[in-house]
Symmetry: C3
Subunit: 200 residues, 3 copies
């Protein structure tokens, strides 16, 4: 659990960078950069907690998540050029956030006794909804709806979590393996250009 | 009530088709098609339940609605060409969903003792918010804000529901007549090109 | 408190005008104008109450706010030309709404024992989220993310509220001074073209 907590904080920071980078590309000002970074970092988890009826959502219960998101956004504001030069590191960091957020989302949903289907959907929402809001605020169609394998990594991770959970694997191992699987799927998807079918 | 339940399931399926068709036109991949179909089908009812404080919202309490929405979306992915050829059938199916969702929305709001105004607004939200989210995710201004009579059918239906309810018509009849009225208004609006006034 | 209530109603009316004006510019029909006016007027406060777990949100508990928002929207529909001619009056009215909404947002958040950071963020959400939803529905990048000092006035107002509150100023005075400060900051920002830094 404490590894998951550290990964959660790291994921929040990395997702804020990904959101802030979109804002910089759109020529937003410092406030816009912080809003896009923060929404990307905490939007998915916040939507999950709203749907599960948990108020106020986690980020509003202590200052840790907002602080990390704001620091990640300001860091991007200052070091955008350097971040663009280490693009593959940024993508790997984003994959770590993706895996962690899926795992936390499925875990929190199961704790509230949702159905397995709902848990997988809430895990995917946790990992992808922040980025979708980011893209909408940036005036773009959410990239997760049009390109590559991003969300499918989350769904596969969610299904994998449920299977391990059902066959009695210990919670810590379930979480570690799910996070790892999503990261690996994401990295492979980028490396080999995996995409989903489209209508002809 | 059991007729309303069947219409609700049918409406969910039809709305998913309408959402998925927008995604196909936008050249989204299979994940995007399922997201747009599902959001269109359950987005309005989910927003209504969030605003009424009912958690988790209906679609997350059993797998029926997500299953229908996903099947409707995949059906559209496979048979888009055929659906385009029976355009008027698709529009009629959409009208059935519209009437049903308005009726369910007003009913659920009144069960929670909202004001009549709020009940009419929540009925309209139930029927139109999913389509508005669909259009925003597709990068479009929600069509309901710019064209024709779509939402006004819902508002008139909501007012009609309240009046019948007030004069003591039995609940089953109120629901059947409201659903029917909205369907008829929608069909007439399409057939005769009814529009709302615009500023000059 | 009763002055704040009057300002709240005035702010609701003025924000509805600002939302409806965007809809008119986008050539939306009467329904679109009312939706954009209403969303701008009550969207921020509604999102705040959802995040704080207060259901149904204020606007759904009595008809006053919806009535004011709809009247403000229809007023704009009828008198758009005249409103465009008194542009600086409209901007001042909007500033009054901004100051009031920040103050109410911070106050309501503190009443629910959130952290100070969350209270400042919820005050800013109360004042700006409605306008952000308005811009997204109009197919635009929210102007608050790209231009000028709008949101920063809210953040400074929120910090100012917390400081006065901490040093023991009476609640009525805290609210009056915060509202006034935000209005003044907004007016100065417009007059002198204050902007935020952007990445180069």
């Amino acid at each position: 659990m404490s590894l998951l907590f550290i990964l959660d904080l790291a994921g929040t920071f990395f997702f804020a960078i990904s959101g802030a980078m979109v804002a910089v590309k759109k020529n937003m000002d410092l406030f816009g950069i912080i809003v896009l970074g923060t929404v990307t970092a905490i939007g998915g988890g916040t939507l999950r907690e709203v749907l599960l009826g948990q108020f106020p959502p986690f980020a509003f219960r202590q200052d840790l998540y907002f602080s990390l998101a704001i620091i990640g956004s300001m860091f991007t504001f200052l070091f955008m050029e350097q971040l663009l030069r280490i693009r593959s590191v940024v993508l790997l960091a984003d994959a770590v956030g993706l895996g962690t957020f899926v795992t936390i989302g499925v875990l929190r949903a199961l704790e509230m006794n949702t159905t397995y289907t709902s848990a997988i959907i809430l895990g995917t929402i946790t990992a992808t909804a922040g980025g979708m809001i980011r893209d909408v605020l940036a005036g773009e169609i959410p990239f997760v709806l049009t390109r590559d394998f991003y969300a499918v990594s989350c769904i596969i991770g969610g299904i994998f979590f449920i299977i391990l959970h059902r066959v009695g694997v210990t919670p810590d191992l379930v979480m570690a393996l799910t996070t790892l699987l999503v990261i690996i799927l994401r990295v492979f998807a980028i490396r080999y250009g995996w995409t989903l079918p489209r209508p002809h």
